[in-house]
Amino acid sequence: MPEHGTVNQLVGHLFRHEAGKMAAVLTRLLGFQNINIAEDLVQDTLLQAMSVWKFKGVPGNPEAWLYTVARNKAIDYLRSEKRKQAVDDQLSVLLKSEWTLVPTVKNHFLNHEIEDSQLRMIFACCHPAIPYESQIALTLKTLCGLSVREIANGFLTTDEVIAKRIYRAKEKLREENISMEIPAANLKPRLASVLKTLYLLFNEGYNSSHTSELIREDLCSEAMRLCILLTRNELCNLPATNALLALMCLQASRFDSRMDSEGEIILLKDQDRSIWNKKLIEKGFLYLQRSAAGPGRNEYQLEASIAACHAMASDFDKTDWSTIYALYSDLAILKPGSVVEMNRAIAKGYSTSPQEGLSLLLVIEGLENNHFYQTALGDFYKKLDKYEDARIAYGRALELTPSEKQKELLRKKILDTGR
């Protein structure tokens, strides 16, 4: 009597990921001006899956099931609306004739075409005409299948703010008549824009505190998923793409050790290295190797190389600080900024002498109110037996840090300077 399917387990983020894939394909078929309709068709498809699977169980090939439903919905829409305005002319010709409509739609749901549509969508969502924050919101919405509320939760903002960003981004895409293509002729700057967005998306997930760990992990894994997609494309599989993916893998390997249960940041020095994810570290090294194929070095490569140095060190004291110092020095040229300077100074302090580290730290401007900076100052002062200066710096850091854990650590450090 039981007819319910035996496999009633949905794998990973099936719905979310398939939503992103279907939205890309349908937007390519219906055109950007109809992106909202494409999203509605995706939502309808998922609702239909839910209502049927609940009674019939998960089909053997859930992806194929979803694509069939989405495909038929697209065909119905194209037939009834007579709006066969696809983004490129060639496609719209094929969609206008009843003879070619069905095979054309079907063709776009084949695996390699889905990936192609996703890539086109990435380039559209990460178009430089759109501000980065809107690029990120649009990418998460259309390519990653996150809802407005889920994105708002990830960025600690309101639904309205995210909805507005997405709305404006879509408007911009329409206004500028941005085509859904892989911009082969203008690849370098366009890919740079895509990589920057994925980098920011990853960092948002990796660094932001006070949001739930689950959301943070989602943002990081989505950034990685899209980056992997780029490496699978011949045109986009460039050194910078591999370098960014290497950086993401190496950073993600420390994901579980970088924060404590209360969401407070644990400094590299104090992290439990035994729980670093070795598989991700290996992947990081692999992609870093691939990134070395081209001439010159990009910022992702330098950052990934720094992360690799840390990953290779069995404990904090065995870290190769002189290499890290050299890498930060190069990075400071490519990507000038006080935080890079601070890290460079710290590396100098560990690799050469506390005095040289301190001298470099003291010339940095604009970090007076940064507790990491004040803590670093205090550490070097202490090593140089300048206890009074160390106490002052630690005291400032104590006022500046919002973290209870850090405060506790700093109080201990202040006590130590008294001996």
């Binding site: 007819e3 009633n8 983020h13 839910m50």
Partner: protein, 113 residues
Amino acid sequence: MEKFMYLFIEDATQTGQASPEEMQAGMQKWFDWIDKLKATNQYGSGEPLLPSGKIIKGPNKVVTDGPFAESKELVSGYFIVLAKDIDHATEMAKDCPILEMGGDLVVRPVQKV
């Protein structure tokens, strides 16, 4: 064991707002519930129902179209389950995740011939 019918009543306007992740999570809960029924051999069969349909009325056989616009709440499907009695069937129904998602569940005994 007696046969009972579970009628699931859902408000389509509510589920329509869920994100893909929420839908998947909701569905997983549903599957877990069914697995529980199946583990004790209490699940019989079930079918989903489309929201559209026809209504035929009276001796004049007047046919009108669904969906039944006057109510947002629609029967979205049914199960046949096996339970000791109506109280048992009702207890089992209380674990149904539909109740947390804005839906209702009706339990009706299947009449024995």
